[in-house]
């Protein structure tokens, strides 16, 4: 049994179809969710986090159905037992500004039923240490930097070592050292939890995830092992003296040569080792071209 099993899941907001028949199943390990803005990443994460319900399709979390249907209404116990095993970092988490980092995580710990005071305090300290905030525990959240606030959010999601960990853009606002720390924390968490994280950073996925799902326009355009996705770009990436007339994307690198992705190789081009980013841009293909033609439309 997979920890998370979604089949043909759809979700619409008014006329906008955010998810259009997504299948996704994963278990222990870190699964990365890539995709342009508006592709439905946050919607998918919220469904896995039991924050919203899917319009149709089946959702199984830890083997239980959080939604229920008219034929088989969910018992409140099912949703609650899923939620007991769930950690969630929303994309935009509001923090009460007069709370301290410790106070905030402790508050969430109470909502997660850590009722014994001593055990709760130990657990809050443990997760704050995991994200490297031990020294800032007593500081007011209003006085923390963006990256530190993000880590407070991450700390609460790690409470109780949840079996399903859902992280919506956890790396936003982190500097390279903090990112490296986060990667270490998450690779440990991936050893016993099913971690699903969305990001805009292909490097995060390359460094962290065994598995990657690329979501475009509410559909999974790729779902597989990271190295497989990288392999799809084999033979389509070059270093050349000019940008290439028909490439998907190309840019002038610091060395003065052009990194050309897709299209026929420009004259004198030499093949380059593809990265996950190259493969991702190739996969987006037409979408990436469109973004290049009208960069202002890319929010």
């Amino acid at each position: 049994m997979n920890a998370v099993d979604l089949h043909a899941v759809t979700k619409s907001y008014g006329r906008t179809r955010a998810l259009d028949g997504v299948d996704l199943a994963f278990d222990r390990g870190v699964t990365g969710l890539l995709g342009p803005n508006g592709a439905g990443k946050t919607t998918l994460l919220r469904i896995v986090a039991t924050s919203i319900a899917a319009d149709s399709g089946t959702v199984r979390l830890l083997g239980l159905d959080p939604h229920g249907s008219n034929e088989s209404p969910t018992s409140p116990g099912d949703v609650t037992s899923i939620r007991r095993e769930l950690g969630y970092l929303p994309q935009e988490l509001g923090y009460p500004s007069d709370m301290t980092a410790f106070g905030f995580v402790e508050y969430v710990a109470v909502l997660k039923e850590w009722n014994d005071r001593n055990r709760r305090i130990r657990e809050v300290r443990r997760v704050l240490e995991l994200v490297g905030l031990t020294d800032l525990a007593t500081r007011k959240i209003a006085k923390l930097s963006g990256g530190q606030k993000r880590r407070v959010g991450l700390a609460q999601s790690l409470l109780g070592d949840p079996r399903i960990l859902v992280l919506d853009e956890p790396t936003t606002g982190l500097d390279p050292v903090q990112r490296a720390d986060l990667r270490r924390t998450l690779s440990v968490a991936g050893g016993h939890s099913a971690v699903l994280l969305s990001t805009h950073q292909t490097e995060d996925v390359a460094a962290l995830c065994e598995r990657v799902v690329v979501l475009v326009d509410g559909r999974a355009r790729f779902d597989g092992v990271v190295t497989e996705l990288v392999a799809t770009a084999e033979g389509q990436v070059w270093l050349a003296d000019d940008p290439g007339p028909d490439s998907v994307v190309s840019w002038r690198t610091g060395s003065g040569r052009h990194h050309v992705v897709g299209g026929p190789p420009p004259p004198g081009a030499i093949p380059a080792e593809p990265t996950l980013e190259d493969a991702y841009l190739l996969l987006l293909g037409a979408d990436a071209r469109r973004a290049r033609a009208a960069p202002t439309q890319l929010s």
């Binding site: 986090a49 039991t50 924050s51 919203i52 319900a53 959080p66 939604h67 229920g68 209404p73 969910t74 409140p76 949703v79 609650t80 939620r83 007991r84 769930l86 969630y88 929303p90 935009e92 988490l93 509001g94 923090y95 009460p96 709370m99 301290t100 410790f102 106070g103 402790e106 508050y107 969430v108 109470v110 909502l111 997660k112 039923e113 850590w114 009722n115 005071r117 709760r120 305090i121 300290r125 525990a137 007593t138 609460q156």
Partner: protein, 275 residues
């Protein structure tokens, strides 16, 4: 500073660490330790490490745990479970600032009514039942609670959280308001009569919030209640809004609202449906 030439021997340090020295001797060793790094180093291995860890853990606990605000501390004294007081402490409408402003508003309304010799009951009748309503409204999300996205996915349950906060709000303002009501001129039953609408308006607000959200719900309740009080200024006795017939009407509305709430609460654990 003169050079240190004398050093405490091991037995003396051990006795000091064990607390076995007399007050004078102990204070002298302590004085010396403050200035002599060599003796401090010598003392290190003599200290019981687990005991030190326990002390340090205790210090951390005292420093890191945020202090509970006064209402939450009182709640703890009254036997409210410890985890619940943490939730109460995070409730905006139990913050000292809100409680104080509620008390001030109530006091002014009561003073106006008292100074006019009971002729101007309207301010008190207007304000007193609305104070708990506004407090409960501010105990809601999503705008009021920046944690909303997390609260809905926590096993505790959002309905339970709102109910805990609402009870906290009611318990923190009602006793004071009742005392104020006692100083009003007029019939003695007036001091508690306004509790009828006050307690009825809260479930009405919560039922409305199911459909239009707490802000619109509180606005609607406030306008409706103001309307009732203002209408009573025209040719009916000042106590009209809290007389028996009207009380029955409030109670009926409250019962209907509780029914609505009960139905909605059953659906609360269904994803996407919240109180």
């Amino acid at each position: 500073m003169s050079m240190q030439t004398w050093h405490a021997d091991r037995d003396l340090l051990a006795a000091y660490v064990d607390g076995g020295l007399g007050p004078v001797e102990g204070a002298s060793v302590e004085q010396h330790l403050n200035r002599c790094s060599q003796c401090r180093r010598a003392m290190g291995p003599l200290v019981d490490a687990p005991a030190l860890d326990r002390v340090w853990a205790g210090v951390l606990e005292a420093v890191e745990s945020p202090p509970l605000p006064l209402p939450a501390r009182l709640a703890r004294r009254l036997g409210v479970a410890e985890p619940t007081t943490i939730l109460l402490a995070a409730t905006a409408s139990l913050r000292t600032a809100w409680v104080v402003s509620a008390f001030v508003a109530l006091s002014f309304a009561a003073a106006a009514a008292a100074l006019s010799g009971g002729a101007a009951l309207a301010p008190f009748l207007l304000v007193a039942p609305l104070v708990p309503v506004l407090g409960v409204a501010s105990a809601y999300g999503p705008r009021e609670d920046p944690l909303e996205s997390l609260v809905v996915t926590a096993p505790y349950g959002r309905t339970r959280l709102i109910l805990v906060r609402s009870l906290g709000v009611l318990v923190s303002v009602l006793p004071f308001a009742v005392c104020l009501g006692l100083v009003l001129h007029g019939p003695v039953w007036l001091a508690v009569a306004w509790l009828g609408p006050a307690l009825a308006l809260v479930p009405i607000l919560m039922a409305l919030s199911c459909f239009v959200g707490p802000r619109a719900g509180a606005t609607a309740v406030a306008i409706a209640w103001s309307g009732v009080v203002l209408l009573s200024l025209r040719g009916v006795p000042a106590t009209w809004p809290v007389e028996a017939t009207q009380q029955a009407a409030y109670a009926a509305l409250a019962v209907i609202s509780l029914g609505v709430l009960l139905v909605r609460t059953r659906q609360d654990r269904r994803i996407g449906a919240v109180l």
